[in-house]
């Protein structure tokens, strides 16, 4: 094994409950900076729940409880002094279904920066352009920036949502099955984009598509029934899994 690079996120003894039922059990893992980490596993295995714990989106669901630590840049995100709003500014998220606001393309991207006080028109213009370029959608929308985002195709909307998240200049980008509502061509573009994004961001992506995990990720974590079964370099997970369950899943014996 090579020396472990410095993790940007380390999760320690994480347990998560929806009311009485336990959704995640004793999760321990480290996410490496500037890499793409894929979370795979059958439906209901807790991978999406886990992802949403990383930017405290599960706080919004009543009756949930978290034990353990998520340490991001040396700070436990579940420490009493941490404001979830601040967490979400530094750890962005892209959702399963494209969810642009019913606003113009420009205003979608400018939404986050404006919330946090950026008013300067020139700076906003520049940031919007940079974000749209980073999400590989600039060329398609540069002439229609002030038209409604709802007029875009699904794949374009999803790249817009990525641009919107990128505009916050987060350190980590969480993606929750970002291509599950898209056609194969749009999916391929998003996958290309994910590989690009890791130059500037740490990406954690949930996917039910194992080929996608194999194509885009550096590290893969396999979840099963609320537990982390195995995590390692993607190539190893897919060619020489250490656990039998992992092997069964990636060879398609269940899931």
């Amino acid at each position: 094994m090579v020396d472990a690079p410095e993790p940007i996120i380390s999760v320690e003894d994480l347990n998560f409950y929806y009311g009485e039922s336990q959704a995640l059990t004793n999760i321990n893992l480290k996410v490496v900076r500037s890499q793409v980490t894929a979370l795979i596993g059958p439906s209901g295995c807790g991978k999406s729940t886990f992802l949403r714990l990383l930017n405290r989106m599960n706080d919004l669901i009543a009756g949930t409880r978290v034990e353990g630590k998520v340490i991001f840049e040396g700070v436990n995100l579940y420490g009493p002094e941490v404001d979830p709003v601040h967490v979400r500014r530094r750890i962005g998220m892209v959702f399963q279904k494209p969810n642009p606001f019913p606003k113009s393309i420009y205003n979608n991207v400018a939404y986050g920066p404006r919330l946090h006080g950026l008013r300067d028109r020139a700076k906003l213009d520049e940031l919007v352009e940079r974000s749209l370029k980073a999400a590989a959608i600039w060329d398609e929308v540069k002439d229609i920036l002030h038209q409604s985002a709802l007029g875009l195709s699904g794949g374009q909307q999803q790249r817009l949502c990525i641009a919107r998240a990128v505009a916050m200049e987060p350190e980590v980008l969480l993606m929750d099955e970002p291509t599950s509502a898209l056609d194969p061509i749009a999916t391929a573009r998003i996958e290309e984009l994910v590989k690009e994004l890791k130059r500037n961001y740490t990406v954690i992506i949930v996917t039910h598509n194992m080929q996608q995990a194999a194509r885009v990720s550096d590290e893969t974590a396999f979840f099963y029934m609320g537990r982390l079964v195995e995590m390692g370099p993607t190539e190893e997970i897919f060619t020489r899994p250490r656990k039998e369950q992992t092997e069964h899943y990636i060879t398609g014996r269940f899931g």
Binding site: M57, R88, N99, L115, L150, A165, M168
Partner: protein, 289 residues
Amino acid sequence: MSWHSLSARKMREALAFMVFRLAMLLVLLSLGGILLFVLIHGLGALSWEFISQPPRNSMTEGGIFPAIMGTIYLTLGAILVALPLGVAASIYLSEYASEGRVLRIVRLGIQNLAGVPSVVFGLFGLGLFVVFFGMGVSIMAGSLTLGLLILPTVIGASEEALRQVPSTFREASLALGATRWQTIRKVVLPAALPGILTGSILGIGRAAGETAPIMFTAATFYTLYLPDSVFSQVMALPYHIYVLATAGTHIAQTRPLQYGTVLVLISLVLGLSLVAIITRTRMRRTKKW
């Protein structure tokens, strides 16, 4: 099962269908009947003078201009009272309050408020606004009373409109580091606003036509003048109709004017509803979520 019983079942089905169709027809007929009746009797009274002049000669001549203006003032006043209050309450109910017993009781209270007879609102307004707060019989007191009357409608419409904003919008905003209030202000409210407004206007149409809440709080039998402040009394269409039909000394002579007034009032209310319905349909068409 024999063929015979099957056809009997078909007959029963046809019968039930006919009963329902008849019920619907009856509803339509009564609405159409009322409208036609008012139209036939009222159309003759309509003239430019009728809608632009005050009454003359013990109400037997002239027009209803002060009453039209009074109703418009009272309706606008009711909107100003009920819209901010109702929208704020519905934001609390649907965005902040967590489901539970307290919320159920509050909702029950609002539903019951909607069931309170309008004359009770009138007496309540008289006691609280006119007497206790010393507003006198005035536009102010009448607007507040009417505002309370339509509050449940506004809250209902707003809650419905807020509920229809997809939760994915809220999630997207929160995930960008917005606070709840920022999310409501910048994403949820703008998306819900058309629904809130049109839903509320439908309720407001009702306020425009109410007599009981304003008869003790705002309306006056007769004034030549338009109000000069919110503490003035006003004439109002529904009250005018009531007065002409029951308390006048020349009931027979004023009858054409009564029908004319009814026609104007109904047109105003239906017009308001029509505007709301058209706007809503148009906005639903452009809305894509």
